[in-house]
Amino acid sequence: MTLLLIAPMLASLCAAIVTLALGWRRITAATSVLAALTILGCGIALGFRVGSAPHVLAAGLLRADALSVVMLIVIGAVGTLSTIAGIGYIETELDHGHTDPAGARLYGTLTPTFLAAMVLAVSANNIGVIWVAIEATTVITAFLVGHRRTRTALEATWKYVIICSVGIAMAFLGTILLYYAAQHVSQDPGHALDLDVLTAIASRLDGGVTRLAGGLLLIGYGAKVGLVPFHTWLADAHSQSPAPVAALESGVLLAVAFSVLLRIKPIIDAAVGTGFLRWGLLIVGLATVGVAAMLLTVTRDLKRMLAYSSMENMGLIAIAAAAGTKLAIAALLLHVVAHGLGKTVLFLTSGLLEAAHNSTAIADITGVVVRSRLTGGCFAIGVMVLLGLPPFAMFASELSISRALADARLAWALGIVLLLIVIAFAAVVRNSVSILLGEPLPGSPAIPVPATIAVALLVGVAASFALGVTAGPLAALLRSAAAQLGLPQ
């Protein structure tokens, strides 16, 4: 099993080195696709072997459990779609003169490195190493966000690097405090940052110190998830990133950062009681959904709309985690998978529209359905996934989250959240209708669809449909993750 965790990282790093050495070519870009497929394949293979108990591997450095498998599958699935579409994206950028061979090489090197960092973040057992991997994602993606080197891309990169680095630094302080508290009670102080050791001694940790640590960890990782109060970087960074990278950031990276909170929560809960993080998650979650809903109603930019919708969904996930029951955890993980696939389809289509119009302003993009059936159709399906319409999986996950909230006596929070989601729903529908069905502006350009992006879109749509019809073997994984992380009923 150790091999199945190490192979994805090695494959990704090899792809990065190959592209760095040989420059951007179709063949080197294909190594990134292979690396992403390796992540997906190893994730699926682990899924059949992991069972219901966590496995600590490689002398306590790595960990394989249901949560890491679910996250590996999301990274692999979205990574595959994003790297395939990346080929068409970079070729278009080169044709339009937005980037040069050096820029393409940088893109092809950083993308698989980014995948490797996310794999490490979900499969490390030491919360210090997890922190290092999460901070590494910020550093690695900095030049991906600013790939176009325009003024706005630079502004977005600056905010992204500074706010995320400061936020995540708070999480490091929290990690140190947790280590301090753990050293105080552990027989094995050298391994006091390992998740299995921390879980075993959690109930004996000092309450005061752990509370401080938990607060800092929530704020710190919350910053990477895009939760209030450190959310201001998110829309800027995701709207300026190349579309395939935005898909990875919105669809996967936010969820990877959140998975760290899911891992830490049971430890903090055991030390200081379930109320502390429940209230913390509820407050930041509700505030995030609220801010996102308000911004969704005012934004006039397609990619910013998608970014705010990611904020809304992360807020919803935080609220589900606050409920914390087994049903809530399983539902929020299904939500993560479904959101990852849907958001990828949407960001990839928005990339096509951006390339055609040289703009992402909603006012510039109208009548897409009549101008390109493929683009319009995929966009429409993506929006339906995002809005939680049946038969797509977010319908089931949102319904289950609602039930979990009601079961956890958080009906008041459910009421507020439903109201905010309705506002967000209306805003997304209004903008999408104008993009898809509005009267095409005179002189609207054609919307060329490179073959690689078409493949990625169709596979993404098919996967979204499949996940909506049946979660298949994924259901068992979600249940064991929930059993490990959820509160006892």
Binding site: G128, V139, L154, A156, W158, T299
Partner: protein
Amino acid sequence: MTDTGFAALTDTGFAALIDLAAGALVLAAVLIVWRRDLGSIIRLLAWQGAALAAIPLIRGVHEGDAALILIGVAIAVLRTILLPWLLARALGAEHRGLRDATPLVNTTASLLIAALLTMTAFAVTRPVVDLDPGPATAAVPAAFAVVLIALFTMATRRHAISQAAGFLMLDNGIAAAAFLLTAGVPLIVELGASLDVLFAVIVIGVLTGRMRSKFGGADLDALHELRD
């Protein structure tokens, strides 16, 4: 290891030295709040790095821990030479002696707020100090004070280099907390975290250079195009 001659420090001497180092950390932070000349801010940052490196060195000598002494030396190289040099290089392209634009809060008020933040740090860290009282943990409020002052600096300064300096100060404070509380995190984490900080500062340096060529300066007020 304790009888190899390293254990030359008496307990009182140890406590006094740790307090001195922690005091120097806070002093450097307050001076950074006071100064607006970017060159001297970077020099102060290097001094703060030296005070930070002194903590693992003092602990290492006191506890006879050779590994900790080595880490202290590495921290000294990174924080007093390498990182300030990278910042100075990012600044270098602009004229020396450049001053930060008027901060959002004036200097007198900033110094008062720094004092308030230091008091807050003592209040917040009460449970931390109480858990395991000793000369090292007693100095932890100083590390938290540096963290809070750094956050305040970053929130009120308007120049890219002063924000980067604030970020490094924040990191110094967090590293100080780590050395005071736990004699350092495990080596693999320490290495990874140091590399992350190094790369973050390199990225910030490159971005500052790009900002200068696009906006004709590194004043962050120019960053206002993305909004809803």
